[in-house]
């Protein structure tokens, strides 16, 4: 485990999180959320939790994002904040 890498990814995670909730487009938010999940997946892998990383990759970055996008398509991309 390389702590510098770890720290860098953690920072990215935080940035993605903030971005996902601030961006003024829900589709963008969904995609950023996917990126966030992917970063987390990397983080888990670095921290040695391979099973969790695997699950996060398939569930978080994959299916969740697809769900988000599907829902946003079915509703609206508009958001005020």
């Amino acid at each position: 485990m390389i702590w510098q890498l770890d720290l860098a990814i953690l920072t990215l995670v935080a940035i993605c999180a903030v971005a996902a909730i601030t961006v003024r487009d829900l589709l963008g938010a969904a995609v950023l959320f996917g990126a966030y999940s992917f970063m987390l997946c990397l983080l888990w892998a670095i921290m040695g939790a391979v099973d969790v990383a695997f699950t996060e990759a398939s569930v978080g970055a994959g299916v969740s994002t697809v769900f988000f996008i599907a829902a946003v398509f079915r509703t609206t991309r508009r958001t005020k904040d």
Binding site: A20, I21, L26, M47
Partner: protein, 132 residues
């Protein structure tokens, strides 16, 4: 000062999970859009996952898959060599729970949109008030 920096570095994972949690809570409480709230909810859940995974980390240990497979099964396993597997297991469950919650939440959002044609909480409240 050094001590503080040391604490800050030694526990940065914990600081991070707290800040992620706060981001998530902020989004749930303060954001006006329901999809944003749901994203916040997910961030909150992943923050907790981060916390658990941080617990399981052990310096100088490797992933919890026993290396010497068949044949060496009776050799004593040195627990210090492996990460703590239990939080991983718990977090597998937590991730699955999170995606299940997400599915239901998004389904509700779709229903909500079909009814109100908007996802903004204040606009929905206005509509309800007008209807009364």
């Amino acid at each position: 000062m050094d001590a503080i920096i040391e604490i800050a570095i030694a526990k940065y994972n914990y600081w991070m999970y707290i800040s992620l949690m706060m981001i998530g809570l902020y989004a749930i409480i303060a954001k006006n859009n329901f999809v944003k709230k749901i994203i916040g909810m997910n961030i909150l859940q992943t923050a907790i996952i981060l916390f658990y995974i941080s617990i399981s980390a052990k310096r100088g240990a490797t992933i919890p898959i026993i290396r010497h497979a068949e044949g060496h099964g009776h050799e004593a396993v040195n627990a210090m060599e492996y990460m703590n597997p239990l939080p991983h297991v718990l977090m597998l469950t937590a991730i699955v729970v999170a995606v299940a919650t997400l599915g239901v939440a998004l389904a509700l959002t779709v229903r909500l949109y079909a009814r109100f044609e908007t996802l903004e909480e204040d606009e929905i409240n206005d509509q309800i008030r007008e209807a009364q």
